[in-house]
Subunit: 216 residues, 2 copies
Amino acid sequence: MALILHNFFRSSTSVRVRAALNLKGLSYDYVPYSLRDGDTRAPDYLARNPAGLVPTLERDDGVQMTQSLAIIEWLDETHPTPALLPSDPDGRARVRALCYMIACEVHPLNNLRVLGYLGETFGADDAAQKAWFTHWVQTTFAALETTLATSPDTGRFCHGDTPSMADICLFAQMWNNKRFNVDASPYPTISGIFDALSSIPAFDQAAPPNQPDAVT
Amino acid sequence: MALILHNFFRSSTSVRVRAALNLKGLSYDYVPYSLRDGDTRAPDYLARNPAGLVPTLERDDGVQMTQSLAIIEWLDETHPTPALLPSDPDGRARVRALCYMIACEVHPLNNLRVLGYLGETFGADDAAQKAWFTHWVQTTFAALETTLATSPDTGRFCHGDTPSMADICLFAQMWNNKRFNVDASPYPTISGIFDALSSIPAFDQAAPPNQPDAVT
């Protein structure tokens, strides 16, 4: 199946889907969009994705898939090897909970559009936006570090010794954190997992600097 | 299996898990927490849920389950009838994408703790908090309305004629919206689904006013 990924190099949700596609060994055409330039608000993009968000995974049967975690669950169901979720329900619940700690507690608060609203409506300058970003990372990362550091289910990666959907979310968020120079030293377990993930080509090749539209 | 739901009547994520438990016909003990009083920051609660968030579903084997959507996916895997996700991968991807539009784009921005930060740090008064809340609902609900209204997969509910996990998220968010009197009239498809869901006892009994800790 030919796949086209409509995405943006720096977008955390785009990093997630790129990593999943790479782990599954699926090739795709890369179509870049600039969020700052409003590319995703153009009518032809809104026809693909009414929310005007990246990424969208376009399939050659015409289906436009949205929402990174929905795409990754679909990839895992339709291309089962290597598995991105454990085989047991309790393991899947744990991995999904780790994912949602990032996807539902950290990332939505630190989107470009949210930072824009803070600037426009509340006059939040760069320092205030950095403080906001850092606050929500620290709030959840403290809990994530505790959860990972105290569980026997944590291995080299978030769940055992093979990368899962939770590692995909962790990897993408750590890249997001770098933009705001969030200090990772209070999170040794998370940092260790990030380092281990970064040595895997499927992850490294999904990272923002390694995309065709990357700018420093 | 005996289940204890640690939750809060008004919490949107608590509404979701209550609705799922009710749909599955599973009874549970209800333990209420007051978010405003900081009940979920107490050490014994943090031992259950290091993030200090509701809900937590406690099982009689001692497992403490967190993150509403991870709990609901687990409930659906371990208690398959009635199914809360379609049987086909494309259907599941669509339902999950609808869920995440709410769970990852709307709800995280409108949490009590986020509104508190806006008030404390940016001096956002009640009107500014209402404007913030409304903005993020409108942003995603416009896209959600388009997605639902233009898809042949939408039926009496978000996906066909039986309630799914997407309906659970929609129902919970609509209750959240009521707190801030968000005008639902621009969203006739969403409103119609909400009305249909409200006539189902499993949903109605999960609604905030119908909980033992409800206050007006």
